[in-house]
Symmetry: C2
Subunit: 237 residues, 2 copies
C-alpha cells in the first residue's frame, strides 16, 4: 500500500480491474502470486514496446499512461490508462505486442506474467471468467471508440473525451468535475483523430462558452450538461 512520492493518483487495489485475479482463491490455494513485481516508470518511459514478446499483462497502480499503435507513418493513441486499468491484454493472442504503452506521468505498475494468470485461471473458473470479462469490456470500449472516430464531428469528439475521463475518474473515487490532463494536445489529437490545432481550438471554444476552465494541464467541467448536449446533438453523419 505504499504511496508514490508524487501521490494523488493512487488507487486502492479494490478498484483495480485486476483485483479479482490478485485476490482469487486460486492464488491462496497454492497458485503463484499473480503479480511478479511492481515496477516504476518515469514520465515518458515505455512500459512495454511494440514487437516485444507478448508474455505479460500489466495493471496500472498509480499514475497514467497511453497505449498507442504505430504503423511507421505515424501513431494512433488507442486509449489512455488510469490507475486500475489493465494493459497488454493482447498478450493472450501469443506472438508479439502490436501496440506500445508509455507512461504519461510517473507510474507504478503491477507486472503479471501471462502464464501466471493462466495458471490461476486453471485453478479457478471464476478467475478465468474475470479475465474474459476484462477483455470483453476492453473490446466493447474499443468498438465504441472506432464508432466515434467514424461518426462524430470534432466538438463532439472532444466533449466525449472529457466526459469519458470525468466518468472514469469518478469511478475511481476522484472528482468528476476537475482532473488533470496528463497528456498533451498532440496525444489527445492522436486519440481523437484530430490535429493539435483543432483540439486546441475546440477546447478554447468550450472555454469561451464558459463550459469548462483550463488551468495548466487540468480541466474543470463547469457545465458538463452543455458538453452532453453537444454530444447528443445530431452527429456529423
Amino acid at each position: 500500500m505504499a504511496n508514490l512520492a508524487e501521490g494523488g493518483n493512487q488507487v486502492a487495489c479494490a478498484t483495480c480491474v485486476m483485483s479479482p485475479l490478485c485476490n482469487s482463491r486460486a492464488a491462496a490455494n497454492g497458485g503463484p502470486a499473480p503479480v511478479e513485481c511492481r515496477r516504476r516508470f518515469a514520465t515518458g518511459e515505455r512500459i512495454y514496446a511494440a514487437g516485444a514478446p507478448r508474455d505479460t499483462v500489466y495493471a496500472i497502480r498509480a499514475g497514467t499512461a497511453q497505449v498507442s499503435l504505430n504503423d511507421g507513418h505515424g501513431s494512433h493513441v488507442v486509449r489512455f490508462l488510469l490507475p486500475g486499468d489493465a494493459a497488454g491484454l493482447d498478450a493472450f493472442a501469443g506472438g508479439n505486442h502490436a501496440n506500445e504503452a508509455v507512461a504519461l506521468e510517473d507510474c507504478e505498475v503491477c507486472v503479471i506474467p501471462a502464464y501466471r494468470a493462466e495458471i490461476l485461471g486453471k485453478h479457478s473458473e471464476a478467475t478465468c471468467a474475470q479475465l474474459r470479462a476484462i477483455m470483453a469490456r476492453s473490446l466493447a470500449d474499443t468498438e465504441m471508440h472506432a464508432a466515434m472516430l467514424a461518426r462524430l464531428a470534432a466538438p463532439q469528439r472532444v466533449a466525449r473525451f472529457l466526459l469519458d475521463l470525468s466518468q472514469r475518474w469518478q469511478e475511481r473515487g476522484f472528482s468528476a468535475m476537475s482532473f488533470r490532463l496528463p497528456m498533451g494536445r498532440r496525444a489527445i489529437g492522436q486519440h481523437l483523430g484530430l490535429t493539435t490545432e483543432t483540439v486546441s481550438r475546440v477546447l478554447s471554444d468550450f472555454q469561451a462558452h464558459g463550459w469548462i476552465e483550463l488551468p495548466w494541464r487540468e480541466v474543470r467541467l463547469v457545465q458538463p450538461d452543455k458538453l452532453r448536449e453537444v454530444l447528443a446533438s445530431p452527429p456529423h453523419r
Copy 2:
C-alpha cells in the same frame, strides 16, 4: 457437413476460429458439446440484437454477416464476418450485447451458449487459452480499425478494406483475387467512416485506373500491388 443451397461460402470447420473449442478434449471427456444448435438466418435477419442478454457466442459456418453498433443517431459497422469468424464475444463481459449482428447473405451459424464454453474452459486450460486468444486477436483487429479511421484518407481506407477482405478470403481457401461483396456501399461507408458517395467514387476511380473490376456485387483485384501502393503512401496525417 451439409451445404447451403446457395453454396460457395461454406468452409470446413478446420478453418473456424472456434474449432479448438468444438474439438477440445474437454468436449470428448464428458463436457457438453459446445454447439447447442445450428441456426439459419436469411439475408437481413438479425443474428442477435443489441440489448439482448449476453449469454451466447456465435460462429459463422456459412454466409457473411456484419456487426454494427447503434447509438440512436446512426450506426457504425464494426466488422464484417466471414465464414469461420466468431461473433458476440462481448458476451463474456456479462450484461447485455452492445452491438448487433445481421446476416448479409443467408447464413448458417453455430450457436454456443457462453456457459458451455466456460464449462469447457474449466475442463481444459488449452481451450480456455484459445478463447482468450480469439478475443485478444479481435481486440487487436479493432484497435487497428480505429487507427485506420483516425489516420487514413478515403482512398487508403477503401484500398485497405479490399486488401483485408482479399486476405481473409484467401486464409479460408478462396480466391484472393476475386470475391463477392455481399454488403452494400452504405455498409462499406459505415464501416470505413465514409459516405456511400465517397465509397462509390473511390471504387469507380480504382476501376478507371484499371486496378480493380466491379461486376455486380463482386470485386476482381486486377493489380493488388497498386492498392498496396496507395495504402503505403504517406497517410492523411
